[in-house]
């Protein structure tokens, strides 16, 4: 059987004696948007930290495309194709929009100090290719006109688009999006949602996982839902199935 997507096997993590994530097993498939929902403090963001290597699990395993990525440093996990949109966005504020996206494109072999001296010709070619790539993705997310603005000059919504463009241009096949629509106005929310739908539709290899609090967003774009409560996966299944469940409604939605 071909190992695909992201698999989490019995992952647990305690912080200060408190079990934040408790034996979570889940799998996230390519070509699909999966939502991770649950009340505040359910362990959703911690689970993201455990996948990306910001935190190491006490026990359990994380596999991406059949490879174990448990206990790798964040930059190593990233090089396996795991990209993340942070809850607080984190654009590079002093870099231009162009540089923000370009920084995601360079492979680490070109980022050594000696590369520009030993392979100047190769670097010029790469620069050229990356410049085309950046233009393409900036156009894709609708920020072509803001190319030269610095990161801090953008609105919050535009910053989210830059962060998404970084993931797309960087070729990350797994996109972990921590609340991609929070703090956005309704126009921006529409823009982000249609962008995400377009991404999975055009590239069936992409796996998108999002943490989301807005149930109308989940209902609209998620194909599959994991419901987390007190560090455990309480329910999972197709979106309408989970959101229609009586117990989920009681614990989380309050009706």
């Amino acid at each position: 059987m071909k190992q695909e997507g992201l698999k989490i096997k019995k992952v647990s993590k305690s912080v200060n004696g408190l079990r934040i994530v408790d034996g979570v097993t889940a799998s996230f498939l390519p070509g699909r948007i999966t939502a991770l929902i649950g009340p505040n403090g359910a362990g959703k963001t911690t689970l993201f930290h455990l996948i990306t290597g910001e935190l190491f699990p006490d026990s359990g395993k994380v596999l991406y495309r059949g490879e174990t990525i448990t206990c790798l440093s964040p930059y190593r996990v990233a090089r396996k194709g795991v990209g993340r949109l942070f809850q607080d966005v984190r654009v590079f504020e002093n870099l231009s929009v162009y540089e923000n996206v370009a920084s995601a494109c360079y492979k680490h072999k070109t980022e050594t100090p000696w590369f520009p001296f030993f392979r100047p010709g190769r670097l010029r070619t790469i620069d050229q290719q990356i410049s085309e790539k950046v233009e393409y993705w900036l156009d894709y997310v609708g920020l072509a006109a803001n190319k030269d603005d610095s990161g801090s000059d953008l609105s919050y919504g535009q910053q989210k688009l830059v962060a998404i463009a970084r993931l797309l241009a960087g070729g990350f096949s797994l996109m972990l999006l921590d609340e991609p629509t929070s703090g956005l106005n309704s126009v921006m929310i529409r823009k982000v949602l249609s962008l995400l739908e377009k991404i999975v539709e055009e590239d069936k290899e992409k796996t998108i996982v999002l943490v989301e609090h807005d149930m109308s967003v989940v209902r609209e774009i998620a194909d599959w839902v994991y419901f987390m409560n007190e560090g455990k996966i309480a329910f999972f299944g197709r979106t309408d199935h989970v959101l229609g469940d009586k117990e989920v409604r009681e614990i989380y939605l309050g009706f």
Binding site: Y75, F86, F92, L95, E99, S103, E111, P116, F117, L123
Partner: protein, 289 residues
Amino acid sequence: MNYILHLLIMIGIYLILGYGLNLVVGFGGLLSLCHAVFYGIGAYATTMLMMKAGWTFLPAVGGAVIITAFFAFLVGFPALKFRGDSFVLVTLGFQMIVFTVLYNWVEMTRGPYGIPGIPRPSVAGYEISSLPAYLLLVAVMLGISVLVLFTLYRSPFGLALKALRDNEMAAEGLGKSPVHLFLFAFVIAGMIASVAGSLYATYVTYIDPTSFTLDESIFLLVILLVGGSGNRLGPLLGTVFMILLPEALRFLGLPDTVAPNVRQVIYGLVLILFMFLRPQGIAGKYSPR
């Protein structure tokens, strides 16, 4: 005329130091308080290689660069476990340690007595002893250093450093390794400082540890704070300003007894005004605090 040549030579040496440190402070966003250490190690290593091992100038410069790289790695590796204020304090610690060693290891460095009579450099058979010739040597060394550094500034390496500086977690999430990239920057800055040390030692022909104190490290940092860091113009403006300011104050015609004190006060005031009015420096966009 000699006075102007002397100033130009000193500006050249400090430009090498400033542009090198810019890689760490301006691009990496790490405030290092031990840059004078690498300047000093470069100066001492060159002196030893020339006077004790009998090497000529250029091989001695190369040898000193390698020795300094080794020390920069030794300092950078533990220091880069830390960020922000802790990094500043750890580099401050190394500055103190190295100064103390240079000062007290009398058999090796002659400690506070210093090392006089350092030979003038000779390149391809020509002894460089006149001021114009020395200025030319400094200019060539500066040119090479700046060429290397400007290439790095606009390389993917420079971009990755700036990304880490702006947001380390996000940059790491894009596959940038903070430890490797910061350590490269730190070691390269040290190697460049070593070249400045070689030039200084053979220009003044006398060195002692007081040229490489914490004051000197702070002075180098101030060059970047005043001029602006993270770009190409900042270190130039900062160096010219910081070297020429005390010289300009000389012409105020103050009585000799108060002149040095008044100069220090004015110097301090200028720094405070900069922090208030232009924290990112004259040419900077990014403010490293």
